[in-house]
């Protein structure tokens, strides 16, 4: 091929692309796949509500280049998720995709997006394999691999050197306690006991007595709030007075109702609290309640942030001129994005999110924010 014909070809492409931009300037779109019907419909609908809220806020300030969101119902089904992925990939207006809800559907759809080179950002898929599919996958939810080390750093910052870990004997509990223990040791701390209990255990006195013998300065709990409530009450009765830190799975109002005074002083880190005093969280909660007449949950917060992160990436990638690749690169460059679920940074290599979690302590029967 001669240089002249190459030049002509480039000219023709340039002409067409400028034509498509000026004459056919369709607004750029985000594809949002989520279970809007079926077993997980309650989550999908919260995502849609939160995403629409974020979109309207964005379009008010970007009137020149508005963005639209195209929703598709995956019904929580992996096959459905794959066909949506094909549909979204064929739709040239879509420059980025948010969703799906579960890791299973997100991974199935993700394999398509990996082929078609369309950036996918899941607000909730926490399976380790999800972001490993291709450089086109991102997530906005932290995993145990982030939370354990975060809490370990928090505890060592509070000058606590010896910690005993009590966790539930299942996949999640084991991962959570191991991740925590490893980082705590790396931070120079000592793990005095690493105990786990069978799911269904209701009497924790034997474990607590065993742990007390090792004289820890604090206890770290990786368990569900119901187990936590029983354990805290029995700990109080045994007169075993050491500070308690818990995984975010214990962040639940019911914990305080069940454990009463035994829950006082427990420290937990979490991503989203509707009662947070942060101005941006308050603004979101207020707007969400005004529009949908219900307090936003953690899931709504996750979707709101995911949508805003995607919109931000589209704006940075050139707004209405954004290409799929530019959006992906802008997503990967997300750094300290201020959201309602904490400030988010994507690791440029692993594409795992890092957030500064909010630290809570139970005080006078309520979760209150603390600095350390």
């Amino acid at each position: 091929m001669s240089a002249a014909s190459q030049y002509h070809k480039a000219l023709i492409i340039a002409a067409f692309s400028s034509l498509s931009l000026s004459a056919f300037a369709a607004p750029v779109a985000i594809g949002y796949q989520a279970p809007l019907t079926g077993e997980y419909a309650q989550y999908g609908n919260q995502f849609r509500n939160a995403a629409n809220l974020a979109l309207d806020e964005y379009n008010q300030t970007h009137k020149a280049a508005p963005v639209v969101i195209k929703f598709a119902d995956s019904k929580g089904d992996a096959l459905e998720g794959v066909s949506i992925a094909h549909k979204f990939s064929d739709d040239n207006s879509i420059v980025g995709v948010i969703g799906d809800f579960s890791s299973t559907v997100s991974i199935a759809a993700g394999k398509v997006y990996a082929e078609t080179h369309l950036a996918q950002l899941s607000q909730t898929a926490s399976h380790p394999d999800f972001v490993k599919i291709s450089p086109w996958q991102f997530r906005n939810i932290i995993t145990e691999a982030f939370e354990g080390p975060y809490n370990a750093r928090w505890i060592s910052q509070n000058k606590i050197k010896k910690v005993a870990v009590i966790s539930i004997q299942n996949d999640w509990g084991q991962t959570a306690s191991k991740n925590f223990a490893k980082s705590f040791k790396d931070a120079g701390g000592e793990i005095t006991a690493l105990e786990s209990f069978n799911p269904g255990t209701r009497d924790f006195r034997a474990i607590l007595t065993k742990v007390a013998r090792t004289h820890p300065d604090a206890i770290y709990l990786a368990l569900m709030y119901e187990d936590g409530a029983a354990l805290l009450q029995q700990k109080l009765q045994l007169g075993f007075n050491v500070p308690v830190y818990g995984s975010s799975s214990m962040y639940e109002k019911k914990l305080i109702q069940l454990a009463g005074p035994a829950a006082e002083g427990v420290k937990i880190s979490t991503t989203f609290t509707a009662s947070s005093k942060e101005p941006n969280v308050q603004a979101f909660v207020k707007a969400y309640e005004a529009r949908y007449h219900v307090e936003p949950s953690m899931f709504a917060g996750q979707a709101y942030d995911a949508t805003r992160i995607m919109l931000n990436a589209i704006a940075k990638a050139g707004g209405e001129k954004a290409s799929r690749e530019a959006v992906r690169n802008a997503l990967a460059a997300t750094k300290d994005f201020p959201g309602v679920t904490g400030n988010t940074t994507f690791d440029p290599v692993t594409r795992e999110p890092a957030k500064n979690l909010s630290r809570l302590q139970i005080h006078n029967g309520d979760f209150t924010s603390v600095a350390n």
Partner: protein, 307 residues
């Protein structure tokens, strides 16, 4: 090794004793009913759970003094026992001839019907009150610590000890010192013979269910308030342990069941200390296996062949 003989070990033995007594509380009623009918009452764990819920309901609606809660729960247990017998057991006791009494098929049908009642009750409770734990008003919790030097006992542990002791003694008195007890022992020993000497077998069986379930229900509320857990699944795990204690004790020996239950509790606490809590169940079931292999009639069972 020597540093294990410290105050924590004593505390651990106390924990184990309390846990064993919890199993014993359930095992007493379990064994009583088995003795009379020769059939395992799988719904006993649900009577225990319903007793706890009855107590919680009384606390929420009436807020009576703690002692009155126990009386109300005892009454509820009595009614539940009679109902249970009527629904799950009576339909399989239509015939009193020797062949029916010795029929394995009928006994298995009865056993399955109690299992069915147990599952239905548990699932219905989950459907209507939800599977999660109920909040208990703090004032009623039996968790007040009683400090004995470095050791800590909960008020509930004292109550469990007293309840278990009372139940055990009352039952022994009832069985060996009263006319009702004599009739219960007669039915348990030979139902046909009891019938022939003019004992109203149906009444005795109903009475046994009433007494056994009363004890089950009272254990439920006491343990519920002591552990701070009241939820529809609560009867399952301790029910299984009480069943193990009953089998180890020789199926129809109440003292045997109580001793085995305490042994189980102690073994669980000590295995948590020396190995880990994950292994404690293995140790309980290991003990059961050893008993069945080497003492097929249980540690305290009568030396007679069971039909």
């Amino acid at each position: 090794m020597l540093d294990f003989f410290d105050v924590f070990l004593v505390q651990q033995l106390l924990n184990g004793l309390a846990q064993g007594l919890v199993y014993a509380l359930i095992a007493i009623g379990f064994t009583l009913i088995f003795g009379v009918l020769n059939v395992v009452n799988f719904a006993h764990g649900e009577i225990y759970m319903l007793g706890a819920f009855a107590g919680l309901l009384a606390i929420q609606l009436l807020a009576p003094p703690a002692f009155a809660v126990l009386l109300l729960v005892a009454a509820a247990g009595l009614v539940l026992g009679v109902l249970l017998e009527r629904v799950a057991f009576r339909p399989f006791r239509r015939f009193n001839d020797e062949a029916s009494l010795k029929s394995k098929a009928l006994r298995e049908a009865t056993l399955l019907s109690s299992l069915a009642i147990s599952i239905i009750t548990r699932e219905l409770m989950q459907l209507y009150v939800g599977a999660d734990m109920q909040s208990i008003p703090q004032a009623y919790l039996l968790m007040t610590p009683i400090q004995l030097g470095p050791l800590s006992i909960a008020s509930g542990q004292v109550l469990i000890f007293v309840t278990a002791l009372l139940m055990f003694l009352l039952l022994q008195w009832l069985l060996f010192r009263t006319r009702l007890g004599l009739s219960i022992r007669a039915v348990s020993n030979n139902r046909l013979g009891a019938l022939h000497v003019g004992i109203n077998v149906n009444h005795i069986i109903i009475a046994t269910f009433a007494i056994g379930s009363l004890m089950g229900a009272v254990s439920g509320i006491v343990v519920g308030l002591y552990s701070g857990n009241i939820f529809p699944q609560m009867g399952f795990s301790p029910g299984i342990k009480a069943f193990v204690a009953m089998v180890m004790g020789g199926l129809d020996s109440i003292p045997g069941a109580v001793i085995s239950a305490i042994v189980l509790g102690l073994c669980e606490a000590l295995s948590t200390d020396f190995v880990s809590q994950g292994w404690s169940e293995l140790i309980s079931y290991g003990l059961l296996l050893i008993t069945l292999l080497y003492f097929p009639r249980g540690l305290f069972g009568k030396k007679v062949e069971r039909v």
